[in-house]
């Protein structure tokens, strides 16, 4: 379970998070929506411990993330995958090398096992055929799948998805959405999904929260929000959204 309680954060002279409280229950996809620049990525960075709150608490399975030392953070990050916008792959490594990076860098697995694991996740995301290509020569959708494979390679219990469909066409987006659902249902991953897209939210989400001025303005199940009268819920999930 991921729990943020009353999180405050100032960045670049602006109050980005202002009392954010949010709970992601085990085995669910929590979708976080909100206008650009409202601190959705900042929220994810708090969960994985790249940023520390000025005030408030961030807990994963009851453990306080900002209080963790290096070793504890490493352990946390092994249990938590992070899918960046556009994949954030290393350009001079092949698809397979990118996916192998988290395993190789902490090299506890034998080489053969690493390779097996890499091909297993590449097959899961449908990228096994392109294992030896380099990121600049593959499409945006393929880069994102590779990023997802890299996030999954350490067998995490949690995955944070930062705009997993930004800049993708509806067909490729839908494939990514199906993958996110598959990762929840087959691998049993708990997800925190940041997105603007109604299709993504309603297809992948179990609960949805909309961030405004540093805290959740509305929160509820997909069905609840789809019929809500709240102006933000209507803007993000209403009939003419997307």
């Amino acid at each position: 379970m991921i729990e943020l309680r009353d999180v405050h954060k100032r960045l670049g002279g602006r109050q980005i998070l202002d009392g954010l409280t949010l709970t992601v229950p085990e085995g669910m996809n929590f979708v976080l929506m909100g206008p650009s620049g409202t601190g959705k990525s900042v929220t994810l960075r708090h969960v994985i411990g790249i940023l520390k709150p000025d005030q408030g608490s961030v807990r994963v399975d009851g453990q306080e993330v900002p209080a963790m030392d290096r070793a504890q953070l490493m352990a946390l990050r092994k249990r938590m995958g992070y899918l960046f916008q556009n994949g954030a792959l290393i350009n001079w490594l092949t698809v397979a090398e990118n996916v192998a990076l988290p395993l190789r860098e902490h090299g506890r697995l034998p080489r053969a096992e690493t390779d097996d694991r890499v091909h297993e996740v590449l097959r899961l995301v449908g990228m096994d055929h392109a294992a030896h290509q380099y990121p600049p020569s593959i499409s945006g959708g393929m880069r994102l799948r590779t990023g997802l494979a890299r996030a999954l390679v350490t067998k995490p219990e949690y995955v944070l998805y930062d705009e997993p469909n930004a800049g993708l066409d509806p067909i490729i987006s839908q494939q990514i959405h199906e993958l996110i659902v598959e990762v929840r249902d087959k691998v049993g991953v708990t997800g925190l999904v940041v997105t603007h897209s109604r299709a993504c939210a309603t297809f992948c989400g179990d609960r949805i929260g909309i961030l405004e001025q540093g805290r959740l303005a509305v929160e509820g199940t997909v069905a609840e929000l789809a019929h809500s009268d709240h102006p933000l819920a209507r803007a993000f999930l209403g009939g003419d959204a997307d």
Binding site: R45, I48, I50, L73, M74, R77, K78, M80, Y82, F84, Q85, N86, A88, L89, I90, L101, P102, E105, H106, G147, R150
Partner: protein, 265 residues
């Protein structure tokens, strides 16, 4: 008031970024034990840096040597003492001009591309991606680059020195009437006549080149890692990298010369 606030802000920003560079260097040195893992990548980097900057460095070094010979030759000719032209060209090239030229060219070619590369990685979240995989960006990205330039800058400097002395000899022969034999003999004597294997000038020059290489790579990586705000931010990072590298080359060059020739005699 406003002017002072601005000036204060400006100075604070300078101190802050200088602090970041020093911290980065300390952390890179602290992760030296990881170098064996990064050896292949480091050697690739060093090789690329050398190949990319070699042609320009050689052309510029030849001209620098020629300029040195001309400048000193003009004065020496008045005293009729052009026989020592080889000595002066060789020693000034090794002590000052070789490392300086090499450093400036490396800053412009390799330093700028390091800043662009790391800056692009920073603004497209690739550096954060390394962090969430518990891969230290200093050890993974900065260390190989710093070591690569710390090795490559002295090696290129050796070539610059030789090419520069050759450039000087051409001017000496054609414009100052010093025969190549005499020029090279005095140059060779200057470079071999001390008790040690090579004279102090050569060692100081190579040490300088080592300092320059380390500084250029550290400053350029720091600019890249602190880039923000998309393509525009990357452009500004490259600009800052080259500007700060050149400033450092001049200041550090002064400090090293001063230390070896005036402080410790």
């Amino acid at each position: 008031m406003n002017v002072f606030a601005k000036l204060g802000g400006f100075l604070l920003a300078r101190v802050d970024s200088a602090g970041y560079v020093v911290d980065l260097l300390v952390r890179a040195i602290g992760s030296l034990h990881r170098l064996p893992r990064r050896l292949r990548f480091t050697l690739d980097m060093a090789f690329n840096a050398g190949v990319r900057s070699l042609p320009v460095t050689m052309v510029v070094a030849a001209f620098a040597g020629a300029i040195l010979a001309m400048q000193t030759g003009i004065e020496l000719r008045r005293f009729g003492d052009t026989a020592v032209l080889g000595t002066i060209t060789a020693l000034s090239m090794c002590r000052e001009m070789g490392p300086f030229i090499t450093g400036v060219i490396l800053a412009a070619t390799v330093g700028s591309s390091m800043a662009a590369e790391l800056g692009t990685m920073q603004v497209s979240d690739e550096v954060s991606a390394l962090e969430v995989m518990s891969v230290d960006p200093v050890d993974y990205l900065v260390l190989p680059r710093v070591v690569a330039l710390a090795i490559m800058c002295p090696l290129l400097t050796v070539l610059s020195n030789l090419v520069g002395i050759y450039g000087g000899s051409v001017i000496a022969e054609h414009n100052l009437g010093v025969s190549p034999d005499l020029f090279w003999q005095s140059a060779r004597e200057a470079l071999t006549s001390s008790g040690t294997l090579l004279p102090k000038e050569v060692y100081v020059g190579l040490f300088k080149a080592f300092v320059f290489g380390t500084a250029i790579a550290t400053v350029s990586c720091a600019s890249g890692l602190r880039a923000s705000g998309g393509a525009l931010g990357v452009g500004l990072a490259v600009q800052a990298a080259v500007r700060n590298s050149v400033i450092l080359i001049i200041v550090l060059g002064f400090i090293v010369t001063w230390f070896f020739y005036f402080l410790t005699g």
